[in-house]
Structures are given as C-alpha cells and as structure tokens.
Symmetry: C2
Amino acid sequence: MTAATRVPHPYYPLDLVLDNYVPNTNSMKETLTILFSTFGVITVGALVLAHGKRHSTLKGFASQSTFLWFTMCGFIHFFLEGYWGINHANIAADQTVFGQIWKEYSLSDSRYLSNDSFILIMENITAFAWGPLSFYTAWAMYNNKPGRHITQLIVSLGQFYGCVLYYLTTMVEGSPHCDPHPYYYYFYFGFMNIFWMIVPLILLHNSIKTIYRAMKASLAAEAAGTKHKKSK
Amino acid sequence: MTAATRVPHPYYPLDLVLDNYVPNTNSMKETLTILFSTFGVITVGALVLAHGKRHSTLKGFASQSTFLWFTMCGFIHFFLEGYWGINHANIAADQTVFGQIWKEYSLSDSRYLSNDSFILIMENITAFAWGPLSFYTAWAMYNNKPGRHITQLIVSLGQFYGCVLYYLTTMVEGSPHCDPHPYYYYFYFGFMNIFWMIVPLILLHNSIKTIYRAMKASLAAEAAGTKHKKSK
C-alpha cells in the first residue's frame, strides 16, 4: 500500500499505520452511555452487597467504598482489560461493544491499537493478576479474612507502578500517541487513569499501617515468648 | 549524516542510530573483572556484617543470604542503575567505569543506549524506589524491625513486575534489541536478570506467609476482644 492508499484514521501520531482500522458504528455518546451505565450497575450491585455487612465487616464509608473499588477494579481489569489482552491484535477492526469502547479510548492513546509491547504486557498482568486479586480482596474484606491487606497491598502497588509506567512511557516522548485535544488528553488519558494512582496510594498507606501494627504485635509476642522461656 | 557516514556500532538492531557512540577503552574482561570484584567486595562486607548477628536476628542460611541479597540489591539498584538513570541520555559516549559497564551490558539489550521510554521509567523507579527500600529492608532485618516484611514484599513485587516487563517487552517483538549470540542473549540478558524473578518469588512467598500469620493472630485477638467486651 502506498502512503496515498493507507486507511485513514483519527489516531495519533497521524502517520501511524492502522490498515485494518474500521470506524466505530456506535457514536461516542452511545459508547460512553454503555460504559458508564455498566459502571453504574456494578456500583449499585456492589453497594447492595456491601449494605448487608454495614454493621460488621464493611462498617463506615471507607470500608464501603473500598469494597466498591475492588469490585469495580475486578470487573474493569478482568473483563474490559482482559478482553483487550486477548483481542489486542485486532482491536482496530473490532466492532463488538468492547472493541468499540477500546477504539474510542484509543483516541487518547493509540498504543491500544498498535500492539505496543509495554501496553500488551502491562494490560495482561493487570487483567489476569490484579483482576482476580481485586475480586479476592473484595471477598476477603466482606468475610474479614487475614489475606485482605496482603492482596490490597499487592494489587495497589501493582496498579500504581503500572499507572506510573503507563503515563510516563508516553509522556517522556511528548505524548505522541495521544490526541492533544483537551477532551481526549485530560479527560480520557488523564482523568480516567488518575484514579489508579490516587486510590492505590491511599490503600497502600492503609494496608501498610494495618500490617505494621500486626507485625509489631507479633514481634512483641515473640519477644515476650522468648523472655518467658528464658526466665523459666 | 547519510547512512554511509553513520557511526558504526556493535549493537542490535543493526540499523539502530547511535551517532554519539564511542567504543569502550576497557576490554570486556576488564569491565567484567571490575564489576564482579565489586560484587565480591559487597558480598564479603555484607557477610561480615551478617556474621555478627548470626545468633540473633540473622540466624541460619536463609536469613544470612536474604540480608546479602537486599544489601547487594541496594548497591546495584541505587548506584549502578541510579548512575544509568541520571546519565542515560549520554551512555553511548560515556567512558567512565559505570558507562563502560553499561555499554558492555547493552550488547545484550540496546534499549540502554537508545533512550527507550520503558527502560527509562522502570530503571529510575528501580534505582530510586527499590534501591533505598532494599537498604531499608536489610537494615530492618538486621535490627528485627516490624517494617521488614512490608518492604520485602514491596521491593520483591516491584522487582518481579519490573523484570517480567523487562524481559517480555522485547521478547514479544522477537528480541530485536538483543545480540542473538548465546553469550549475550543467555548469559547477560537471560541469566544476569533471572535472579530478579526467582529470588523475589521466594521472598514474596516468605513475606506473605509471615504477614498472613501476623494478620490471622491480629484478627483472632480482635475477635477475642470483641467477645470479651460483649460478655461483660
């Protein structure tokens, strides 16, 4: 194909070759409505579940919203990002609902259409490691399991590290993969991802504090045990 | 500069442009001798330190070698990788000892000379986050501090995730940045990095087990406290 016969597309950088690209049939509005309605349904479902434990394991606003966070992360990572992980090679031509969501999002970051190797590995780890571990963390919160803060720490660190790499790998190059229009750059690329930097930081802090307290008690108990043994 | 006047270099892919490249003055043997002698000195130093605690906080082979591991990681991350992080833009022309080590290593992965954005961010995080946290973990082991397993978990997960991304981002492309010669591919690229996948996995397992036990005891104590309160 010569430059003149390349398939035209709206993605950045403008000289990116996406010859299997097929434009979305759903409008941006339809795609966003589908996406955010699904988020709405998950939110309601999670909060209904959480409501049943409001006097026991999920007491207070922080616990309720953390439970919602991990349930939402589980769905987004495992299903939305997992779909991308499996079908990444052909997303530019994909007309399914998920495919159209990814083509809409890719306006803010064409690496999702161009088989970028960093996005490929990071998204697969996010989908198939952090996804199930997010569900586990929500389940462990609900049932007050001792593993909860361990996976909360692991998932949060993984999300934070992934997100730092995600932003900076293109930003250090001057964000060539991003449509510079503020809607795409600041809303899709910036705002829609910044949650995975802010919330993980809060949850990391929270888990580190909780684990630190338990480790301190455990060391104190051990020291008391040793002393006790010695004094016998 | 036309293709004919490009500065020739031994790196892969062969058409990589490295016009500021200056060949090492130290031979491969000299560079490796300097590197491994330094590792030797750090090993001896760490083991001398660890020896003093062999009956208390660093009892047994596992503790002694974990202490050595984190001390070594601290030095490698903070100094060797930190040097790269700060001077990455001009490594191809760098004739310092560190510069020559990096040019030798880059035979197995030219992304260290070509300002690859993933390597840039990952190495800076490794150097300036995992580096100091490795030293902290060694210090916390030595002094039996409650934070030890928290940072052990954080550093190990960060190293493991970083290493998975490191290997796979070039391997999914067919390792175009690596000299295919087995010495460079299997010894430098493969063997010299695989430690950061194997050891972190063992240490993650170890920290998760230890923290899990402490969290379980803490939940049991809490439950006993609640029962006690209720029964009054």
